[in-house]
């Protein structure tokens, strides 16, 4: 009987999750007009410095092991914050791209498809990177593979710009902050 109760509870929870996701996705569809405003600009150069292995080597040489570990933890926390925002931006860009896919213009659809694909790649890489950041914070000796996120982010920025330009040729756009 314990097994039956466990299965009933699991089935009920699964159904609740599925219905909740379906309802929330339906509500999202009706509120997609202000998505672009939710994208948070990212300082790519600052992020690039944070993930630069040469910077880590320099700090390792200049600081005592204890100081280096503390600084590295701080830097990992900062990298995690950047990657988290990049992942959220990617999710928003997937929604923007899929909305644009529904239009009839083949040129826009092609750009939107590229944007969605790149944004999905970034979201995937950001997820990997977040996991690796947790592991690296636990085991600081490991190297951090954040360059994949950086490369993906630069690529989807270009894709988003292309889509934005195709939809609204008069307005130059970007999604990453610059110095």
């Amino acid at each position: 009987m314990t097994l039956a109760i466990a299965l009933v509870v699991l089935a009920a929870l699964s159904l609740i999750f599925i219905l909740r996701i379906t309802v929330s996705r339906s509500l999202q569809v009706s509120g997609e007009s202000g998505l672009a405003e939710k994208i948070q600009p990212i300082d790519v150069e600052a992020f690039r410095n944070l993930v630069d292995p040469a910077e880590d080597d320099y700090l390792r040489r200049r600081l005592s092991p204890r100081q280096f570990r503390r600084v590295r933890r701080e830097r990992l926390r900062a990298i995690g914050a950047y990657v988290h925002v990049a992942g959220q931006n990617a999710a928003l860009l997937v929604r923007i791209g899929t909305s644009a896919l529904e239009g009839g213009d083949p040129l826009i659809a092609e750009a939107a498809n590229r944007l969605v694909n790149d944004a999905l790649l970034l979201r995937r890489n950001a997820t990997y990177a977040i996991l690796r950041i947790y592991v690296t914070r636990a085991l600081p000796a490991l190297d951090l593979p954040a360059s994949a996120v950086l490369n993906s982010y630069e690529r989807i920025t270009a894709s988003a710009m292309l889509l934005g330009r195709l939809q609204n040729p008069a307005v130059p756009v970007r999604i990453a902050a610059l110095h």
Binding site: A11, E32, A91, L92
Partner: protein
């Protein structure tokens, strides 16, 4: 009212399966059977198999053993078709995006294997609810199928939600109907497989049949009622006039 062979019982067994066959015809007429081939085959097989089973139940000359054998074979083929439908839905939503297709395949295989193991364990620990192997066997088989099916569907919803991908309207309807059906059936079969009371079994049968009827109506709704077309303007992307990104764009556009 909630008795076996009552009018409601006959209606709930026959009507959804007739509707399912009509649904298959609608899919055919609209040319959607190529896009949703597995679901089309599932609709035809599901409808015909259940109507055959119904006939086997009400025709007095059909022996109980024959009835249970028909149930067994129908169940096995239906399970294969359901997993084909889920695979079709997966490839429909993730297939167009190479960046996610490979990860999706790896994860779905991993989740599938884990669910098969979990379902086998659940079956191994389930008590025998009936002395006849032909009767408790299908109960356990259904429980096993529904554990795997609802797990895969839950994974489908979670994975697509995480990546913010939307299935098209018909695929969403198919998924939703299958999910409601499989979760409800899992709960009822788990109770049925652990309960030998005849009255409880009949009530659970009614619940299953009513849920299945509702799911067929959900599939009809998503197939026949067109999606509301929102008045969409071009999706605005935040404006930041920085020349370096425009130079990047030009370089990107160059062959």
């Amino acid at each position: 009212m909630l008795q076996a062979h009552s009018i409601l019982w006959h209606y709930l067994w026959v009507a959804p399966n007739v509707f399912l066959l009509v649904l298959a015809m609608v899919l055919w007429q609209r040319g959607l059977h190529r896009q949703y081939l597995a679901f089309f085959l599932f609709a035809i097989w599901g409808g015909l198999a259940q109507l055959t089973l119904y006939a086997a139940d009400v025709i007095p000359s059909v022996s109980p053993d024959t009835f249970w054998h028909v149930l067994w074979s129908g169940l096995l083929i239906e399970a294969v078709l359901k997993f084909a439908v889920i695979g079709e839905l997966f490839s429909g939503i993730f297939g167009p995006y190479p960046s996610l297709a490979k990860l999706g395949k790896i994860l779905i295989r991993g989740v599938g294997v884990s669910l098969v193991l979990a379902a086998a364990l659940a079956a191994a620990f389930s008590p025998v609810s009936n002395s006849h192997r032909l009767i408790w066997g299908p109960h356990l088989l259904e429980q096993t199928i529904y554990i795997i099916e609802s797990g895969l569907l839950l994974f489908f919803f979670l994975f697509s939600a995480y990546f913010r991908l939307r299935a098209d309207r018909i695929a969403l309807g198919i998924c939703l109907g299958l999910a409601i059906s499989s979760c409800t059936h899992l709960a009822t079969w788990a109770v049925a497989a652990n309960n030998s009371s005849r009255a409880v079994s009949v009530r659970l049968d009614f619940l299953n049949m009513a849920t299945y009827h509702a799911c067929v109506l959900i599939w009809f709704y998503y197939l026949l009622v067109p999606q509301k077309v929102a008045n969409k303007s071009a999706v605005p992307i935040p404006e930041h006039n920085l020349e370096i990104w425009n130079r990047e764009l030009e370089r990107f556009l160059q062959p």
